[in-house]
């Protein structure tokens, strides 16, 4: 008996060992490393020098612009995504013909899984001097600057993350019990109050999932502000690349990274609280 129990546990350990090793060596240890680095000092020639100081954290305001841009554009971007995504998810889940539904859904998911670099590059092309501005000059509107503006970054955000917002909202609307909509109408509610009181209300967990996912990914965004913001709209991600690869101030970069993770965790916890309160928290498959 004892032998078979041992064998059972041994097999379990064997199955979990590679994944555990991977998670520890490439997730837990690196995180511990940057936590240690964040209380250290920059070595004179760049890199890290051992110390125990909170100076790096006190220095965070030096990158206030990056934090400010990220903290404003991440929620605003997620909100813009939401405004565009909701009608699409609603149409797909409740209005689209049954046989088209899966095809349309696949068409939404495909861009999310293709290269964000390539898709953002497409917008550089359209917003750049030879794209829309050239067209506008043709009809007499000259010198309109589209690229390298916060607006371009916002557009890139909506474009890049829209699928990720549509999907969870679609899932929550698709699971909606249609009899509730009939019941609401039978009880004399107007279409608008049915929408607000039943449909929208019951899709709020999906909205929360989408919103927090997009928010968290945007907090670490680097490509969109770099390509469409042209070095004018700095995000935290840009500050990190600069600190680690250019100025080699690793301790300060680590402090920023730890702060970024802390903000993400807070966003996740708040989102979780809200969606638990909104009704049973549901898991949403992303693919």
């Amino acid at each position: 008996m004892r032998g078979s129990l041992f064998r059972k546990n041994f097999l379990t350990a064997l199955l979990l060992a590679p994944a555990t090793l991977w998670l520890v060596v490439f997730l837990v240890l690196p995180f511990v490393a940057i936590a240690i680095f964040s209380v250290g000092e920059r070595a004179p020639e760049g890199g890290y020098q051992a110390a125990l100081t909170l100076a790096q954290y006190a220095n965070l305001p030096a990158r206030a612009t990056a934090f400010w841009n990220t903290m404003v554009l991440a929620p605003v971007g997620a909100l813009a995504c939401l405004i565009v995504a909701y009608p699409v998810a609603y149409y797909l889940a409740l209005r689209a013909p049954q046989r088209w539904r899966l095809i349309l859904l696949a068409l939404i998911v495909i861009p999310f899984w293709t290269s964000l670099l390539m898709r953002t590059y497409a917008w550089m092309y359209i917003l750049g001097g030879r794209g829309i501005p050239a067209l506008l000059a043709y009809v007499g509107i000259e010198d309109l600057r589209l690229i390298n503006t916060p607006g371009a970054v916002l557009l890139g955000i909506v474009y890049g993350y829209l699928p990720l917002m549509i999907l969870p909202i679609y899932v929550s609307l698709e699971r909606l019990d249609r009899r509730l909509l009939e019941a609401s109408a039978d009880l004399g509610a107007t279409p608008l109050s049915t929408f607000l009181g039943v449909t929208l209300r019951l899709s709020l967990p999906g909205v929360m999932t989408g919103f927090s996912l997009v928010m968290i990914l945007l907090l670490g965004e680097y490509l969109i502000p770099t390509l469409l913001g042209g070095g004018k709209v700095f995000f935290i991600g840009n500050a990190l690349v600069d600190l680690f690869l250019q100025s080699r101030n690793w301790p300060f970069g680590s402090a920023i990274a730890i702060t970024l993770v802390a903000v993400s965790v807070v966003v996740l916890i708040v989102a979780n609280r809200i969606s638990t309160r909104l009704s049973g928290a549901r898991r949403v498959d992303l693919i």
């Binding site: 379990t12 064997l14 979990l16 998670l23 997730l27 690196p30 293709t114 092309y125 490509l223 990274a257």
Partner: protein
């Protein structure tokens, strides 16, 4: 509302269509379309730096996705056999691997590996009998491992979901009929989770092939295709990049469709 939805689909696909169209442009300029030609594909594929980057990306994506598919599936199977507390801890770590921003994964891996190499390399040198000791450095290995982290978490979740919906009666019936655990696994469990494994592999491959930010930090002296493309975009838009973008987009669409069709399979055809 239908008009709005049509507009959103146009918004999603027009930029992509434009890049594809201009990749076939006969002219030099990025703005004027002067007729069809495949010349930029020829130019792109005869650029040795680009081909080298493409080969690197293919090698890294294949290796990390394979490792992720195997380790992730093993983990999903192992998680079926542990208690709730252990499972919750594992799920939290897997969730972290997916949710932590790529920038943070990139820099923390960089920092940890550089520190590790600083300890291990002198140690290796002291053990080595000749003057040319092996040196650990950033490169293929670090990119494969960092990509594999996210991918493995993804595979574990996909296969785990599939295992959750597995018909337990079949497993019990199989052992009632005196099949060994290995036979039960091979003929009942494996065929049912195979589509999820394949889908996980394909998505992992796509992720690794497309990833820029993690590789940017841990690549060391190596170049992957997204790193090459990023560098050339910063030098200025060229039709050659349109051709590369089209190839990459077409390849990822194909892989995602394959992955979706695998996930959609309810019953394995055997």
């Amino acid at each position: 509302m239908r008009a709005f939805v049509v507009a959103v689909f146009a918004f999603l696909y027009l930029p992509i269509a434009l890049v594809v169209l201009f990749s076939f442009n006969a002219g030099q300029h990025a703005s004027e379309f002067t007729g069809f030609s495949a010349q930029w594909y020829g130019k792109a594929l005869s650029n040795p730096f680009l081909v080298e980057a493409l080969k690197n990306s293919l090698f890294i994506a294949t290796t990390s996705a394979l490792l992720a598919a195997v380790c992730g599936t093993a983990a999903a199977l192992g998680l079926q056999r542990v208690g709730a507390r252990m499972r919750a801890l594992f799920d939290a770590l897997l969730g972290a691997a997916i949710v932590v921003p790529g920038v943070v994964i990139g820099i923390s891996t960089l920092v940890a590996l550089v520190q590790l190499f600083a300890v291990v390399n002198p140690f290796l040198a002291s053990l080595w009998p000749t003057d040319q000791p092996p040196r650990l450095a950033l490169g293929y290995g670090s990119i494969i491992a960092a990509h594999g982290l996210f991918s493995m978490a993804l595979v574990t979740m996909i296969v785990g979901t599939r295992l959750g919906s597995l018909d337990r009666n079949l497993v019990e019936a199989s052992s009632d009929l005196y099949a060994t655990p290995l036979t039960t696994f091979r003929s009942i469990v494996l065929p049912q989770i195979m589509p999820a494994m394949i889908a996980g592999f394909l998505l992992a491959f796509t992720f690794s092939f497309d990833d820029f930010i993690i590789a940017f930090f841990v690549a060391g002296a190596q170049t992957t295709l997204p790193i090459y493309v990023f560098a050339s975009i910063r030098r200025g838009v060229t039709p050659e990049i349109n051709a590369v973008a089209t190839i990459v987009l077409a390849a990822s669409v194909l892989l995602v469709l394959l992955a979706q069709s695998q996930l959609g399979r309810r019953k394995p055809s055997r």
